[in-house]
């Protein structure tokens, strides 16, 4: 009976398929039943009037078939947030050339760098079928940010210019505008970020949890039931965009979570109202479901090697590659080696704010930092640890970036012991102990403790090589590893002399992206935590910058913040890159090292070579996983 009915169903389906495909809009098999039962409108009605047509030609993508489950492995339940990084539907987002293009928005217009008008796609709907309108943006701005109870945390920092907020204006159902008094160049990059500024919420859904729209007493009662402190806490919990913990929450992403946490396996199903289509006008995504299994991060490489993931890069390391390669044939996957998009895989950060006065003076001397850079044998590091596949480079942008210049990556990076030694002698560190270790001006031995967060074996290996290299220039290195929190706290407090971390987060930058990493703007910058804190907190905490070259970087950054055209921004970026390279504020080793990306053999449209980075690629995000499909 079952067999028969299944057969009947397929015949029907086939008939339906041929029927609609002749109308050039074949229904997606996964949804066909619902559409047939009138639970869902047909594809045409589900799409906006002007859907986003993904350019398949530009990125060498092929037209796909619907269906399949994409299996991912994650190390913790919090990694739920990674899915919205991967799926990467944004109001505006980075295109493959790293320019910011409309995505959920149909168009956007920027006036004088301070006035941003967005127009939504007419007929665009949330995953529950409710239209997406200006009201959803108004709800975020007026009912959340400006609300006296929900907006307690204040206005998101990217929406403040000189401490001033924008004026928000709804123009019609689809159009709205944010206007600042001065340019706000960090607004668009914030919207396009992997962990973006979400300036919209599904108002129709959220209003039932909002005291202005629902009965407060009833809400408070529900809040107690849901073990929330009050209605505001419950509202916050229900509205999370980045980590889709609430399966009821309508989404604009390609897949919607259907599993409430806590769980060890999360299933995401396709959003029937997703706004992107392939060149034939077929609605994306091709893949029906994503499944995310949460396992211990230590076994992810092992599980991937036995074919338990269709697309996996997170928690895989370069050192796992030989193991992964071994399992390829048996388990039908391929290990591709993408470029890691960091300024330097492992970089040293001399702490210019160190508490030790003698050391601080030494570290602030550019000759010392240059000598540190010249003293590293990057070729050996590359050969031993990265199989010669990476590029020896300073901590700067990668050749893939439009802003790249050879001099930025090569300045002070040749392995030149004599020059390093003569620089150190010249700055007055010419006295040595019998074992060859230099003496500081106050007679102490030049013993430097390099601190690490102790998170990767790769880092430890690189440091062991560097320890040997530095012995040759008369510096004795000790490595101390701790945990990330302690590591950071010590650096912030000035207890650390040199810290080790990965280099620039965004090494494929364009002039439109924020150059904040090149200037003291944030406490988290390990080479100048106190100065960064000072300018990052508007002089409320930290210490004023007392070094001309660092001041120059900050001034350039401030100019960028006020620049209203791309030419100026490009010039400022170049000035900052060249200043950073010349002053060697951080010491890079190699970049462009490889990230293993494991891809099932029948998964199509995943690029052969990509850049694996948090920003701007959002890991897989800009390669549009909604266009990936299974050739089965």
């Amino acid at each position: 009976m079952i067999k028969n009915s299944a057969k009947y169903f397929f015949i029907c389906l086939f008939a339906l398929f041929t029927f609609v495909s002749s109308a050039n809009s074949a229904e997606i098999p996964f949804l066909a039943e619902k559409v047939a039962a009138d639970d869902l409108p047909a594809m045409k009605e589900r799409l906006p009037e002007k859907p986003l047509i993904v350019d398949f030609e530009a990125t060498n993508k092929t037209l796909g078939k619907y269906g399949g489950d994409l299996r991912l492995l994650m190390g913790k339940a919090k990694d739920l947030g990674q899915i919205t990084v991967y799926t990467y539907a944004r109001l505006v987002g980075y295109a493959p050339d790293y320019t910011i293009q409309p995505d959920i928005a149909e168009v956007f217009v920027v006036g004088d760098g301070r006035d941003f008008t967005f127009k939504l796609r007419k007929g665009h709907r949330w995953s529950d079928g409710h239209p997406l309108t200006s009201e959803d943006f108004r709800y975020f701005w007026e009912d959340m940010v400006k609300h006296k109870k929900l907006g307690k945390k204040g206005i998101p920092s990217q929406m403040l210019v000189d401490g001033k907020e924008p004026t928000f204006q709804v123009i019609d159902e689809q159009t709205f505008r944010y206007t600042w008094e001065k340019p706000n160049p960090s607004f668009l990059p914030a919207l396009a970020a992997p962990s973006p500024l979400y300036i919209y919420r599904p108002a129709h859904y959220m209003k039932q949890f909002h005291a202005d729209y629902a009965d407060v007493e009833e809400l408070e009662r529900q809040a107690i039931e849901a073990k929330a402190r009050d209605w505001a806490a419950m509202h916050t919990r229900m509205q999370r965009q980045r980590r889709p913990e609430n399966p009821e929450l309508p989404t604009l992403q390609a897949w919607q979570n259907t599993t409430p946490p806590p769980n060890t396996r999360f299933v995401f199903e396709r959003n029937p109202f997703f706004h992107r289509v392939d060149p034939l006008g077929q609605q994306l995504p091709y893949i029906d479901r994503l499944t995310m299994a949460v396992v211990s991060k230590d076994v992810i490489a092992a599980k991937t090697g036995t074919g338990e993931a269709d697309l996996q890069a997170r928690y895989l390391q370069f050192s796992d590659v030989p193991y992964l390669k071994r399992g390829e044939k048996r388990n039908n996957f391929t290990t591709r080696l993408w470029s890691l998009g960091k300024g330097s895989q492992v970089a040293l950060f001399p702490n210019l704010n160190a508490n030790d006065e003698v050391w601080r003076k030494v570290l602030q001397d550019v000759r010392f930092r240059r000598a540190l850079s010249l003293g590293i044998n990057r070729k050996e590091i590359n050969e031993v640890i990265y199989f010669g596949l990476a590029y020896p480079s300073a901590n700067t942008v990668m050749p893939q970036s439009a802003l790249y210049k050879n001099e930025y990556s090569q300045m002070w990076t040749d392995y030149d012991k004599e020059k390093a030694n003569s620089l150190l002698d010249e700055m007055g560190l010419d006295q040595r102990d019998p074992d060859g270790t230099r003496l500081l001006p106050d007679g102490r031995r030049a013993e430097i403790t390099i601190e690490t967060a102790g998170e990767s074996a790769e880092e430890t290996d690189v440091l062991e090589l560097i320890t040997d290299h530095y012995r040759e220039i008369g510096l004795k290195i000790f490595v101390r590893s701790s945990q990330r929190d302690i590591f950071r706290r010590r650096a912030y407090a000035g207890d650390t002399l040199i810290s080790v971390f990965s280099g620039l987060n965004n090494a494929v930058a364009t002039s439109a992206m924020n150059p904040e990493e090149l200037a003291p703007t944030d406490q988290a910058q390990l080479q100048w935590p106190k100065w960064g804190q000072y300018s990052g907190t508007n002089t409320k905490a930290g210490e004023p910058i007392k070094m001309d070259s660092a001041m120059v970087q900050l001034q350039l950054f401030n100019q960028w913040m006020l620049a209203d055209n791309d030419e100026d921004r490009t010039e400022i970026w170049h000035n900052m890159l060249s200043g950073y390279a010349g002053q060697v504020f951080s010491i890079g080793t190699v970049n462009n090292s490889r990230q293993p990306v494991v891809i099932a053999n029948d998964l199509r449209n995943v690029p052969e070579n990509g850049i694996y980075a948090w920003e701007p690629t959002s890991y897989f995000g800009i390669y549009k996983p909604d266009t990936f499909w299974f050739d089965r």
């Binding site: 590659v321 080696l337 199989f387 290996d461 090589l465 590893s481 207890d495």
Partner: protein
């Protein structure tokens, strides 16, 4: 005739009833120590273990000489090389111990270095030769090694690690920390055990009650989580030496309870003995009575139980370092070496990185057999 009690006026020779052979006589007249030794000797496994342990501890003393390379010496041309096979015959001819040099190849497809023995390159092994210079015990400059290769080519009898360092040398150096940590730890637990157990057993009463409860509390703590917390609150800026001592102290502080119990129960029975009463009547202080009259009475037992607890300490250090919570590189211990081998690929591709497990297992077994033998021997009449 009234007195019918008969007394034989012939001299009595006890040997006429029970004739002792010279061996038997030796046994009856032998002091306690000798008896223990005799009994111990009969436990062949224990003797073998004892010899093995002695060799291992000697090794830690002469690590610099025994290790073919210094602990930091690396050859970045030979990373993750598999162990060399030692051969004696080349082309059917005996030429003494040698290995075949490796041909290197970089397999960029598999991202792996491939080493194949080249039958034409004979690398002879020399003994008592000059190699990496070192400072013996941190004092004397020397460069003598038990074994080195005669060419520039490195020889890895147990393979090399990710940076091209000799595993054999690192295992030998690692023994220093891994083996001594047990001794330091045991010294602490020993003193704590004897003092607390001794006081509880000798005085009894409320002292005993408090000690007993304390022991129960410490024993009921789950050890692994406790180690983890204690290690976690250790300041991160401590030097490796300080961390090492802190870990031994932590291990020792947890481990004294079993010993304290044993001491207490022994003392409870021994303090009722007549000689203790005699000593007390003569005005000996409790310190003297415990130290001079009671503890020697069960010292052998203490030593036996100590040898059995040392493995716990060694395993403790290995476990903590393996989890990345104990000592850290560049210190070398077996646990740290094993920590490097956590990667799944190791088991499949570079199994020699797990070799430090072998000495750990052997040492633990040896200590157990040795302790067994000692315990049996400590009661020679049993």
């Amino acid at each position: 005739m009234s007195d019918s009690h008969y007394v034989n006026d012939q001299p009595f020779d006890p040997k006429s009833i029970e004739v002792l052979t010279p061996e038997q006589e030796a046994i009856y007249l032998a002091p306690q120590k000798k008896l223990i030794w005799w009994k111990f000797k009969r436990h062949k496994l224990a003797v073998a273990s004892g010899i093995f342990l002695a060799i291992m501890y000697l090794m830690t003393v002469f690590a610099e000489f025994l290790a073919p390379y210094s602990v930091e010496s690396r050859n970045s041309d030979y990373t993750l090389a598999q162990p060399h096979d030692v051969n004696f015959f080349h082309n059917g001819e005996f030429i003494g111990p040698f290995v075949y040099g490796y041909d290197k190849e970089l397999d960029l497809e598999k991202i792996q270095r491939i080493y194949t023995p080249n039958k034409d390159r004979v690398v002879k092994l020399n003994f008592f030769c000059s190699g990496d210079p070192y400072k013996f015990w941190g004092l004397i400059d020397a460069d003598n090694h038990l074994m080195c290769a005669d060419m520039e080519e490195p020889v890895y009898l147990l393979g090399s690690d990710t940076l091209g360092r000799d595993m054999l040398s690192r295992i030998i150096y690692g023994a220093r920390i891994s083996l001594t940590i047990g001794l330091v730890g045991i010294a602490i637990s020993f003193s704590l055990g004897i003092i607390i157990g001794g006081l509880a057993g000798y005085y009894g009463g409320w002292v005993d009650v408090i000690a007993q409860r304390l022991i129960e509390v410490v024993q009921s703590l789950p050890t692994l989580p406790l180690w983890l917390t204690l290690v976690a609150i250790m300041p991160s800026n401590w030097s490796q030496v300080a961390v090492y001592f802190a870990i031994t102290i932590i291990l020792g502080l947890i481990d004294w309870t079993g010993l304290a119990r044993a001491v207490r129960s022994k003392l409870l029975s021994l303090r009722e003995e007549d000689y203790v009463l005699a000593a007390r009547l003569m005005g000996a202080s409790p310190k003297r009575i415990i130290g001079l009259h009671l503890v020697p009475g069960f010292m052998s037992h203490l030593i036996a139980s100590a040898t059995i607890t040392i493995p716990t300490m060694i395993l403790g250090e290995t476990a903590l370092s393996f989890l990345g919570l104990g000592l850290r590189a560049p210190t070398v211990s077996w646990g740290i070496l094993l920590n490097d081998a956590q990667n799944i690929g190791v088991v499949a591709l570079t199994p020699w990185l797990i070799y430090p497990v072998v000495p750990v297992i052997l040492i633990i077994l040896a200590f157990n057999f040795f302790g067994d033998g000692l315990r049996d021997a400590s009661d020679p009449y049993g």
